[in-house]
Amino acid sequence: MAHREKRAWIMLVVAVVAYAIYVTIVVGRTGGRPLADVPYAAALLWTVGASIVANIVAEMAIGMVSPKAARVADARDRQIGQLGDHVGQSFLVIGAVAAMLMAMAGWDQFWIANVIYLAFVLSAVLGSVAKIGMYHGRLPQW
């Protein structure tokens, strides 16, 4: 498996696990009250912070166990990286536009913060899935 494919897997797993933990914490705190009234900020910040740290630690770990030659990236790796990032970034734009419209419409801060976090997660997940798919399939030809 290419080194950058391993990194894409790490990002995918970390993003999914971190979001699942966050959703479980927030939903577990509802206790019959509306979701928008649940305290979420600390859980969101801790989850985002922990996922960044987990990503860095996991990448360092695979970097240490992989020989230096295996960590070298070539033109194909860079093309896959750029296309994958491009796919992921589109969800950041969708999330930002959704958050802007929700703010204009006077939605609760809870929903605005959560739609932005969801966009970050979707960006990481779909960008990683696109990269993994391109490593196992073909690169788009233009």
Binding site: M1, D74, A75, R76, D77, G137, R138, L139, Q141
Partner: protein, 78 residues
């Protein structure tokens, strides 16, 4: 659905006739990863022109002895 490339190649056969050169050795000689050599061999990735020339140079053959492309003029003839 990603359009498959029409470029075919003879890298596997050329590796075999050149002392059963490994994919890793070819990769190191042309400066790409072994995964990229595998993808090129399987027709899942079209390399840059420069990489294509490097592969041909490693085997000491012409570019079109390594990579082939169907002649479209033959297909258009009824």
């Amino acid at each position: 659905m990603v359009k498959p490339t029409r470029v075919t190649n003879s890298i596997r056969a050329l590796r075999f006739t050149h002392g059963e050169m490994t994919q890793a050795e070819l990769a190191s000689r042309i400066g790409v990863t072994r995964q990229t050599v595998i993808a090129i061999e399987q027709g899942r990735y079209s390399p840059s022109l420069e990489t294509a020339f490097l592969i041909a140079h490693v085997f000491g053959v012409r570019l079109d002895d390594v990579f082939q492309y169907p002649d479209t003029s033959e297909e258009e003839t009824p």
